[in-house]
């Protein structure tokens, strides 16, 4: 067999894809257009699948491509494209290199964990289709896990490195680099991502690709497909001298050299076994006839287990999706009852059911108004992004998040469309306002309002207070952000669960409003 080159190709491609993927999650200069970002993420399985279902677009057929590749060569996705897979491979590579000096690092065949992985896949699907909760996908999808780690851990480090460099530049009297502010640190998301980081680091060092074959719903799905792959890795019995080198190199623990078999549904297609074999006996072979794998004795109990676990998950789903979120009765004065979702997400329900909390939009957002929620969406929507008007406000002319969203949770909208999407409505709490409380002018809210839905109207003497025209308010949060009153702000945005359509502010000028006309004089008035 001459397939040794496969491993090298895998290493190169996976690292290139990995680095590009990381970069789009941390890049503050927005070097890549949304088209490039979509190209980089085109083959990510879960976002592509969700996008296809939601938007029905040919631009989201990456998952079909991956399925076809899997039907041909097995789980190529897992070692070439999966960011979490490559993340683990890096730690596996480092740790095996370190241990090499002490003792030979060897892995051995492990039995499959089909019950666990099928239960989790089934639970994810049941939660998704029956209870419309993405919670298992959010928490288990390898792309979304990676996104959270990149955004909440790698990104701050990248920013800090930039800011250090900016300081160095400034020491030389140059403003060529400038510091970037994080503006807001969402600690629950950082801590959760840190836990993910440590978990996957430890898992990869001590259990190699355990996650991929025990938990990962994508791995399980592709594993099912790879059972019928056209080409499979096989140990050539004739050339095998039973040295066991392939088994020791197998990260997935799916090679049993004594029985001369490779459990191909668990193979992550890293191709480490191919160059490991001294006699070149491991490689791809056409696999047309059905394998005569012995039926395990646990076949029946497995089925039973599935039944019970589905019921259990159903119960969990009910708890997650019915009991939670909009407990409207707990409303405090200047906080929105439900979180504000980005323009293009149509409704809080659509958003919750489609967003896998990969956090790509959080980095893409130029103002950083998008921040990870914690429990604002309920348990089911853990860490899904929301518009945080205490950090920033949504730029009226910007549609960046809708351009980059890989799952269709935020539908693509044009600037024209966005200008009338009403994601919430400003509410004014008069007795908190500076003008009312101190009798001094302010108008910070009205200043920032892009549609002048917040307008200053006469109050006392020369003083003016804000008045809100709800018809033309888009809920961008500029007023809430700018309001100087603390701790409770005197103006805030109440989110719409279903986004409305606002009127265009232009119509108003021609209508009832009469302002003092300013005319350019011919002469100087002084």
């Amino acid at each position: 067999m001459r397939q040794k080159f496969l491993k090298k190709i895998r290493v190169i491609i996976s690292l290139v894809v990995f680095l590009f993927t990381i970069f789009i999650f941390i890049d503050f200069a927005h070097l890549f257009s949304s088209k490039v970002i979509h190209a980089i993420l085109f083959l990510q399985f879960v976002p592509s699948l969700l996008d296809f279902v939601n938007v029905l677009t040919f631009a989201a057929t990456g998952f079909i491509f991956i399925s076809l590749i899997t039907l041909l060569f097995g789980r190529v996705y897992c070692s070439f494209l999966c960011p979490l897979g490559v993340f683990q491979d890096i730690f596996i590579g480092i740790s095996s290199r370190i241990r090499k000096f002490k003792k030979g690092r060897r892995w051995k065949y492990t039995s499959s964990r089909h019950i666990l992985q099928y239960s989790i896949l089934a639970a994810s699907l049941v939660l998704l289709f029956l209870f419309r909760s993405l919670v298992f996908v959010n928490l288990l999808d390898p792309y979304s896990i990676s996104g959270k780690m990149f955004t909440n851990l790698f990104r701050p480090v990248y920013y800090m490195a930039n800011n250090l460099m900016a300081d160095v530049f400034k020491a030389f009297h140059s403003y060529a680099l400038y510091p970037i502010a994080l503006k807001h640190i969402s600690w629950p998301a950082v801590i959760f991502s840190g836990m993910l980081f440590i978990t996957f680091m430890l898992l990869s060092v001590f259990r190699t690709r355990w996650y991929c074959n025990a938990i990962c719903p994508v791995g399980t799905t592709l594993g099912l497909l790879s059972r019928v792959s056209l080409f499979k890795l096989r140990i050539d019995e004739a050339s095998c001298n039973a040295c066991g080198a392939c088994e020791r190199k197998c990260k997935a623990g799916c090679i049993d050299y004594r029985r001369n078999k490779i459990d191909f549904d668990r193979c992550v297609a890293c191709f480490n076994c191919i160059p490991a074999c001294p006699s070149g006996g491991v490689g791809y072979h056409l696999s047309l006839k059905k394998e005569n794998t012995p039926v395990t004795e646990s076949g029946k109990s497995r089925r039973n287990f599935l039944k019970t676990s589905v019921t259990g998950v159903a119960g969990l789903g009910t708890v997650l999706s019915v009991k939670k979120i909009f407990a409207a009765n707990e409303k405090t004065s200047s906080t929105s009852v439900s979180p504000v979702t980005p323009p293009g997400s149509v409704s809080i329900w659509h958003f919750r059911e489609t967003c896998t909390a990969c956090h790509l939009c959080i980095n893409a957002c130029p103002t950083k108004v998008l921040q990870p929620a914690f429990l604002e969406y309920g348990l089911s929507g853990l860490f899904q992004p929301r518009l945080d008007y205490h950090t920033e406000y949504c730029n009226f002319e910007c549609i960046r998040c809708s351009e980059v969203c890989p799952t269709g949770a935020i539908f693509p909208v044009t600037k024209e469309e966005k200008s009338t999407i009403q994601i919430g409505i400003s509410k004014f709490i008069k007795n908190l306002c500076v003008v009312v409380a101190n009798h001094t002018a302010c108008a910070a809210c009205s200043e920032h309002c892009p549609t002048k839905a917040v307008e200053m109207v006469p109050y006392l003497g020369d003083l003016k207070i804000p008045q809100i025209d709800e018809k033309i308010c888009v809920g961008c949060g500029a007023c809430e952000f700018a309001c100087p009153v603390r701790p409770e702000r005197s103006i805030y945005v109440e989110a719409h669960n279903y986004h409305h359509t606002a009127m265009k502010p232009l119509k108003k000028v021609e209508g009832e409003k009469k302002e003092k006309e300013v005319k350019p004089a011919d002469d100087f008035p002084f």
Partner: protein, 308 residues
């Protein structure tokens, strides 16, 4: 570098001020050239030209840019770049005017010309869509962010009534020449925004101003010792409705005017009149006049009026 540099400079400046107070009269007797910036006029108003041309005429009648910028000096130009809108909407200073000023500074021998604003909307979008970033770069000026807190340093305004301290951008503190280039427009909070209001863009915590007493804070900050060397009020396109950001080009009229002066209060008073509002009805102008930050009495000034 900056803080130390700033201290060093302020000590030198302080010493110079002290010296000029003591030896002021002698200096006047012995001087070969007029003191920096003192042209024949206190204020120049121009009407009827393009932004760049109007500035050329105005600065010429103030004795030329050489009167304000000396060879090898660093200059900071502070336009209004507060909003993510196009030049036609006049929420930001006209880019052609900013460009002309930067060019004039270099012609007068400036070493570096920096341009910044602490914007309201996202600064990168503001810089780009206002057209100012490109205009400045075309003139070889340097665009710097005003939205990084690390660039701001605490200063005191001892004479301020309600505003006693603020954090000010280091470019303003460290530069030899400070040119304030506001755009004249209607403002929902301060009635009109011009020179004094534009200085909110060189400080960090503006919410304090809004929370405390907007007009008094604007007037107090006009007493800050590092005053603009020159104020250039852009009234080429003037937003008369729904300011300060505006909603569309319908909010804007063409006024084709420009005012320059060393005195912020006088410049603002003249611009208010141009707009059709009596200066004393704008609270912060009145307060600044009272605290002697400048004068709003235009009759006491020598004004050059140029029609093109």
């Amino acid at each position: 570098m900056n803080r130390r540099d700033f201290f060093r400079r302020s000590i030198v400046a302080g010493a110079a001020t002290g010296a000029s107070l003591v030896f002021g009269d002698f200096k006047k007797l012995l001087a070969n050239e007029p003191p920096q910036g003192k042209g024949p006029f206190d204020l120049v108003a121009v009407k009827g030209g393009e932004p760049g041309l109007m500035f050329d005429k105005a600065i010429e009648s103030m004795g030329g840019m050489k009167n304000f910028v000396k060879k090898g000096q660093t200059v900071v130009v502070k336009p209004n770049i507060g909003w993510d809108t196009s030049p036609e909407r006049a929420a930001n200073t006209n880019p052609l005017l900013v460009k002309r000023i930067v060019e004039q500074c270099y012609t007068a021998g400036a070493k570096d010309v920096y341009v910044f604003d602490n914007t309201c909307d996202d600064w990168e979008k503001c810089y780009e869509n206002s057209g100012i970033q490109k205009a400045v770069k075309d003139a070889n000026g340097k665009v710097v962010t005003g939205n990084s807190e690390g660039y701001y340093h605490e200063v005191e305004i001892p004479a301020g009534q309600k505003l006693k301290n603020a954090k000010v951008h280091e470019l303003v503190l460290n530069s030899d020449v400070f040119i304030n280039v506001p755009v004249l427009k209607a403002h929902s909070g301060s009635q009109l925004t011009m020179s004094m209001k534009n200085l909110m863009g060189i400080v960090w915590d503006r919410r304090y101003w809004h929370r405390t007493d907007l007009h008094q804070c604007i007037a107090d900050f006009a007493l800050f010792h590092k005053k603009p060397t020159l104020n250039v009020i852009d009234a080429y396109r003037v937003m008369t409705k729904r300011g300060p950001k505006g909603v569309s080009v319908e909010d804007v009229i063409l006024m084709k005017s420009l005012i320059i002066s060393r005195d912020m209060v006088a410049a603002d008073a003249a611009a208010a009149k141009l707009y059709g509002i009596e200066p004393e009805t704008i609270n912060y102008i009145k307060l600044a006049d009272q605290s002697k930050a400048g004068t709003m009495n235009l009759n006491s000034l020598s004004i050059n009026r140029i029609k093109l």
